[in-house]
Symmetry: C2
């Protein structure tokens, strides 16, 4: 067994079952191993930002890592922007990155670069495998690193001669690391705060926002009157009728300050205290009031669910069902396209159990309100603020959950960074309905310009904010990658296209000119 | 004057006149400064790999740096793959990368990351500006770093509060660093080698491959019978009728070994000894024979032109014109599309003074032979082996040379990484004719698979090498970005489309299904 085969077989034994890949010559023996080992599903991407974003989406929905297969330093470089987002989502990912044969590097061939340096920027664990006898063990360690709570990016660099040399063996996986419970004093302090009469917010993140974590948080909120929040950069939020109400923190500084003004206590569960994305001259970046006590119940790497259940046990009388969101669906609107109208259409016809991937930015600000009371669904946001995640994230979520529909809401400017994802959706016949909000602007930048005190943008600045001239034609892009697309000019047309998308086998795209 | 304004004004004084940009909120005050300072041409890209590749193309053709404007760590990350290629092209580039306000970073906002770490991977000079009073000086130092021979990547990180704070001043540029002449012994040794009767090759790179450097190299070749070579990863090669004949080193290991078999001496001028891109099991990576003496006349950072002129002076009798390539143009072929036929069409109708950007990979192997005797032109290759450079490189070359035509020859797999460049070509009305060789394969990988001893690829491997299913439709992509496109099915149609492209105002695209 060569090194490459021991690598892939070890990953299979460790329940890594999907490889998002864009290989090159230095990864050929890994491809050869993948060719022979059908237990690993290989999903080709035509640009590496698609691959890292897809691995993020897969991990958010499956709770386990996919691996990526990337070509040397430049391939890894292309993946960095969405690895940034993944690092903020705190998901497990295992990058496999090829490297030149060890004896070839001294020639400084054209593709040589500092692969470890590039990997170190967003990986919590980096290793260059040193021999074919060791790479199985390295793969097992990569899995352990990736699955160290709450989830981490691990990068294993594989020299070509390590991959092709004999002597490999499949490594056994040691027990996966488990998240530790927070200290008793952290839990008791949270209970004390919740028993006070002060207005209390609970800011949840990670596994506290879906499944058992969310149920426990809901029990606490019902029993104590505390309000639940999710960060604006939310990785995954389960929501809808019957589920605990979780309010998303605002993006805009003033709105965030307003949102937290009433609270004298904020309990953090896997989250950090809410702050503005950016600093503004003369303004404080912090959302909470100066007299708001902030207590960390559980750090991101601790057992969020266990902590919430322990607190719920203490503050709620019995194991009653938490108060949940009422069922409410907006009526299906008609007429001219407006942002509230588009949001209402989504709310009116969203199928149960949909995964919504949201990078609609300024165009989608009404989407959460319009969908809060519809059938339960998951909401996946941009966790790191690097735009260009929506299409890849939707791709990865669809690979993880083939039985569910995925609705991808994306701004046009964002989608342009990683539009190649449409091709993979088409090839893999993934049930992703993509809505492109085509305002032909980096609209947020126009707002930020004056908000930052820079006045009104002149024509040269507007040339950097407006992405029309020429207009991007998303129906053509979709067609060019085998995805049926349509452009809509009314809410009726949008409703029909959206319903058709949900009913279709495979991906569709709807361009909404704004 | 705030820091941002002093930054841009200093760059203007240093003759930096083009900014390839994709800004975000943290760069707003730099945009504000650019808004007010019309001496800097701003060219928006919708993905940062377009921007870094364009800056490379601009530098190759203008000999001076453009600046880029990139958004934080992820924006810089997206630019890395083509910065890799630029670092191998040894061109000057000045990256301006925004950073959070200094006092905001302690909050660890979502977009925080190790910007310096990301910059360090491909930049020879990195600095985070510490205050608005210093940033002008930092900008001047960035220019000096970028223009340190032969050309380097310099990255200046600009915290938002440094950009928006007052107290900036325009810095004077110290004299630009000049390349030093190689040692007298290096020059004398080269002269001795050339006066021997041994078969001698001269491998040229950088400024030795065009203009005065090429003329001097041609004199040496004429006088001594030495043969001139350019690396396969060539940044810029001037060629055509009347110019010295320079042979490009082969990509394939065996072909390279054959090419250099006859030589007992190899003189390097700004180049490194030729090696294979990749290692192959049981094979030596080196192209030259074991008994070939290798002598470095001039290192990349030395005065290549001065060194060649000194040697030419010594070995050639008088300042005679070097023997040049004979004028020869292939006749215009007709009929079915074949690779030699496509190459002949290009050779038959290429306008004088065209800039050819070549990333046609396996499909374009006959292009150099078919164009060797046509009117003089420049040939720009992929210097670092990271595919996805052609469209951005063509864009940048066209910005640098608005009076010249640019012919961009690209493989479909390569073009897919940075297809967003078409939009910028359209917006800027650049005279770029793009030919996409649509073989719907990462064809080189199929060849490398067996070449590496991995046997024949099975269906799962082929799924990672074949990029059809669905086919990419380049005419639709072009349409979607405002570029007139056409698909051709015969050599006659290709000839017409190519001629139409050369006659057009603005960009066009031709898809050639293979």
């Amino acid at each position: 067994m060569n090194g490459a085969e021991s690598l892939i077989r070890t990953l299979i034994c460790a329940d890594v079952r999907v490889c998002f890949s864009n290989p090159g010559t230095s990864e050929i023996h890994i491809v050869q191993a993948l060719d022979r080992i059908p237990e690993m599903r290989c999903v080709l991407g035509l640009f590496e930002g698609v691959i890292s974003g897809a691995a993020d989406g897969y991990a958010r929905m499956s709770g386990k890592p996919a691996c990526t297969l990337l070509h040397l330093g430049p391939g890894l470089g292309n993946s960095l922007a969405n690895l940034h987002n993944a690092s903020r989502a705190k998901v497990p990912i295992i990058n496999l990155v090829g490297q030149h044969a060890t004896y070839h590097l001294r020639h400084d061939p054209p593709l040589a670069s500092d692969v470890e340096g590039i990997a170190s920027t967003y990986s919590k664990w980096v290793r260059s495998s040193s021999s074919s006898t060791q790479i199985g063990h390295d793969a097992a360690k990569a899995v352990i690193a990736a699955r160290t709570p709450p989830g981490q990016i691990a990068t294993l660099i594989v020299p070509a001669d390590v991959a092709w040399s004999d002597g490999g063996s499949v490594a056994m996986l040691p027990p996966l690391p488990q998240a530790a419970m927070p200290s008793t004093s952290s839990i008791e302090r949270a209970i004390d705060l919740l028993r006070s009469n002060l207005r209390t917010g609970i800011l949840l993140s990670g596994s506290a926002l879906y499944g058992k974590g969310l149920v426990a948080a809901g029990r606490i909120a019902s029993a104590t009157g505390a309000r639940l929040f999710a960060p604006y950069p939310v990785a995954r939020l389960e929501r809808g009728a019957g589920l605990p109400v979780v309010e998303r923190v605002a993006y805009v500084l003033e709105q965030g300050i307003e949102q937290f003004r009433e609270f004298r206590q904020l309990i953090l569960v896997g989250a950090s205290a809410p702050v503005a994305y950016f600093a503004y001259p003369g303004k404080n970046s912090v959302f909470t009031s100066a007299d708001c006590k902030i207590h960390t119940l559980a750090a991101p790497n601790e057992d969020l669910i266990g902590a919430l259940e322990a607190v719920a046990e203490a503050v709620s009388e019995k194991r009653e069902q938490a108060f949940g969101q009422q069922l409410e669906r907006p009526p299906l609107p008609k007429g001219e396209i407006t942002l509230p109208g588009l949001a209402a259409v989504v709310g009116a016809i969203l199928p149960e159990n949909t995964i919504i991937v949201d990078e609609s930015n300024t165009s989608g600000r009404g989407m959460m309100a319009a969908t809060k009371g519809v059938s339960p669904h998951d909401w996946l946001g941009n966790t790191g603020g690097s735009i260009g995640i929506a299409l890849p994230l939707a791709l990865g979520a669809a690979v993880a959950c083939p039985e569910r529909r995925v609705l991808c809401l994306t701004a046009d400017g964002s989608a342009m960074y990683t539009l190649q994802a449409l091709w993979t959706m088409s090839r893999e016949k993934l049930n992703v309905t993509t809505v492109v909000f085509a305002n032909r602007d980096y609209a947020v930048l126009k707002r930020e310009f004056s908000y930052l005190g820079a006045g009104s943008p002149g024509p040269r600045a507007l040339n950097m904010f407006e992405i029309g001239r020429p207009d991007l034609d998303w129906v053509s892009f979709a067609k060019g990658m085998g995805v049926p697309g349509t452009r809509v000019a009314s809410l009726e047309a949008f409703s029909k296209a959206l319903q058709d998308g949900f009913d279709a086998e495979g991906p569709t795209l709807i361009e909404v000119p704004l």
